[in-house]
Symmetry: C2
Subunit: 209 residues, 2 copies
């Protein structure tokens, strides 16, 4: 009984990772830490909001005018877009798709509204995204403390954010994964475990001849 002995090669498409969280839940800090790791390419979003102190155009966001954003929107250039607190945010389609086809994992930072657009995208490489990771603040008190500490918003803006956050937090069970936010290091380890595990899902692997 001689057994044939094929040599097997697997390859996979890149995975689009999306992380959602109420503002102040530690998402920006986590994303900054993730950007130091070599695991993926970070896709820089377009936005019409004003830069915060220290934010760099082309690194944190592409800061653009309302006119430019609406022109690109009309040209269907965005994979997803959202209007949050009166400002536009969006992810350019072309760069993301190219990287996924090259087997590169891509991370995007979008608000809760955008994830649904990703999941219902017509391109399977996009709609198979891991768009269901929710960073849950340990509590609203802690969220309030973090927002106060950041000091970039008025107390009225903070109350609006807390109100929105309370609503968003109620929807945690609609997300595939929930990370209860702890230290940056803990959140980073948890997120990277999810990223790695998703790469070993059989349905993402393709046998090459």
């Amino acid at each position: 009984m001689e057994t044939p002995a094929p040599s097997r090669q697997f390859r996979r498409l890149g995975i689009l990772f999306v992380v959602s969280a109420p503002s102040g839940a530690g998402k920006s800090t986590l994303l900054n830490a993730l950007r130091q790791t070599p695991d993926f390419v970070y896709s820089v979003s377009y936005t019409t909001r004003q830069p915060r102190p220290g934010e760099v155009n082309g690194e944190d966001y592409h800061f653009v005018s309302m006119e430019e954003f609406e022109q690109r929107l009309a040209g269907d250039e965005f994979l997803e877009h959202a209007q949050v607190h009166g400002n536009y945010y969006g992810t350019l389609r072309s760069a993301v798709i190219e990287q996924l086809h090259d087997g590169v994992d891509v991370l995007i930072d979008i608000d809760v509204q955008g994830a649904q657009q990703i999941r219902s995208d017509g391109n399977p490489a996009i709609s198979d995204a891991v768009a269901d990771i929710f960073i849950m603040p340990p509590s609203l008190e802690e969220l309030r403390r973090r927002l106060n500490k950041r000091g970039t918003e008025t107390s009225e803006q903070i109350e609006t954010r807390l109100h929105n956050a309370a609503t968003e937090m109620e929807a945690w069970h609609a997300y595939r994964y929930t990370i209860i936010s702890g230290s940056v290091e803990e959140d980073l380890q948890k997120f990277r475990a999810i990223m790695r595990a998703e790469r070993y899902l059989s349905h993402r692997m393709v046998l090459t001849p």
Copy 2:
């Protein structure tokens, strides 16, 4: 606009992890390495096969007689059982369920036949097991090399195993996760990433009042 500020506590049931692989794919080595980690409790299976040199009763397996195994089987004491190469293997139900209810993760080592029994179990704590991790040998040549090196079987037994392995390997895509076996350390890191990620699945979390 005052926002209510609930403090949230999450708990979860333990998860039953099952790893399947063709013999010689590195599963035993991986499981031995996993047993050194504090992540879970390892459930020792019952078997009627003879101990291999160095195997310890109560640690590697509970080695029992055909009579004892069949008596327990008749009493429905096994969560799953299988007959492989003429010998019985089985996992005792009572200990596993108790640990899962205490929030402890349990790892069991069963052959490919057993995973389906786990998935169709009437107890949700059991059927929600991660019973779909397949350790894929890099190739049948490498598998043959490992089995020859182990030297515990005749060349006819090795050919039987390779024949079975080739069939099992064809079914890799039926498993949720596929780990392409590399070094023990690589396999261990991959497996632990899957274990951690599964713990962050929202549906496994329960809000306590």
